[in-house]
């Protein structure tokens, strides 16, 4: 059984989020708006939790500029996310919104916030292992050591590095005797 209960706001409190500190009131508000825009493939987490918002600035004329970075280059949800980010900010009162997608601050799974990792676990997916110091690129040895998101057991085995979306791998838990998925480290 997959636990689909949403995380209560209290549970997420105290966990490090991805909204920068010390922002102006206006910027803080826009970041909070984006923190409500769900990732279309894992709607339990926001695009801010996911760490794909790399820059948010307000121009002199009040126009908002947002820079996104894709999780995987072939992510089919990217255009959709650009659109929903733009719509959310316009609805929040931004006079104009410019959304760009670049690779200049490339995404890695370490960009997912602590709060986001917790939400991924509650959604029923194992969060990605953090990159070990000195390890360039995804740590594929750690990929095979996923802890079961249901029972926490490490007695698991990776069945395939490719799952139902580009960012998930397939695993099996020998204690639950159930399959599960992991958000892949990148």
């Amino acid at each position: 059984m997959v636990n689909l209960e949403p995380t209560s706001p209290d549970a997420a409190q105290g966990l490090r989020g991805n909204i920068p500190q010390g922002l102006s009131v206006v910027l803080q508000r826009y970041w909070e708006v984006l923190d409500q825009v769900p990732d279309p493939e894992i709607p339990a987490i926001s695009v801010v939790d996911l760490g794909i918002v790399t820059r948010l600035t307000v121009e002199e004329d009040g126009g908002v500029r947002v820079v996104l970075t894709p999780t995987f280059a072939g992510c089919p949800a990217l255009r959709w996310m650009e659109k929903t980010v733009q719509e959310a900010l316009l609805e929040a009162g931004a006079p104009s919104v410019d959304v760009q997608t670049t690779f200049e601050n490339p995404w890695t799974s370490d960009r997912i916030s602590e709060a986001g990792r917790e939400k991924i676990r509650n959604f029923g997916l194992a969060p990605p292992p953090r990159r070990r110091p000195g390890c360039a690129g995804p740590d594929l040895e750690a990929l095979a050591l996923a802890a079961c998101p249901r029972c926490g057991s490490q007695n698991t085995s990776m069945k395939s590095p490719f799952g139902p979306t580009l960012c998930r791998s397939l695993h099996y838990c020998f204690d639950c005797l159930e399959a599960f998925e992991q958000f892949k480290p990148l």
Partner: protein, 264 residues
Amino acid sequence: MTFSIPSNPLPRYLLQIADDQLVMGHRNSEWTGLGPILEEDIAFSSIAQDQVGHSLAFYEILHQTHGLDNPDQTAFNRPENGMLSSWLVEQTIGDYAFSLVRHWCYDQAVALRYESLAQIQDPNLQALAMKLRGEVKYHTFHAQTWMKSLLQGSEESRLRMLSALKEVWPLALGMFEAWPGETDLMQEPGSQGDPWYPGEKNLQNLWQTRAMESLASWGVEVEVLGLQRLEPVLGGRQGYHSEHLAPLLEEMTSVFRLDPQAEW
């Protein structure tokens, strides 16, 4: 439908990478629904999706920085002789052994190209190469796992893999075909001051050394198999292709051609 191949070495090189990824991605997507087991169906479909995504990222840079038409036009509105992909990627999928060996040969080469591109001075290309390199690590991991399993599996699986190796090898060597402008690009200093692009001969040697090491570790007697005596199949990097590319382009561009100016 006219297209002039970029005369500057860097955009030409990037176009070769992009075209390989686009064509390989389309071929690999043909396994969707046909994989020998569900996990492999998903794996080839995911790899295909990555590859088409990688081609898009390069077409975008070619458009933004090097004056080529937008990615849709560049990908889908070119004559066959404007495509710079290798013969390896355009071959039909064959049986699973052929596709798997091709995937192994191809993604090992892509990993080497991205490793080298990550040393370029241009910060955008450098960031892109480092990003894509991480994704390809999953491809090479997948290919290595299955190559090992099937080469060390039953008598039948081993024979079929060895036969596929002999078939794929000359095509794989063709990935490293010399191209005009190559020696100029080899002079370009990278982010550390040294040239970042080693040239096709050096890439091929590196690729071949790694491949031979892996094969030997799986008990393949490379000498007996005669891989070293096989000659490369050339032409792709000059725009000359086998009979398999035209039908692929025909199918791949059929939706685009319904309305070439459509906004997607």
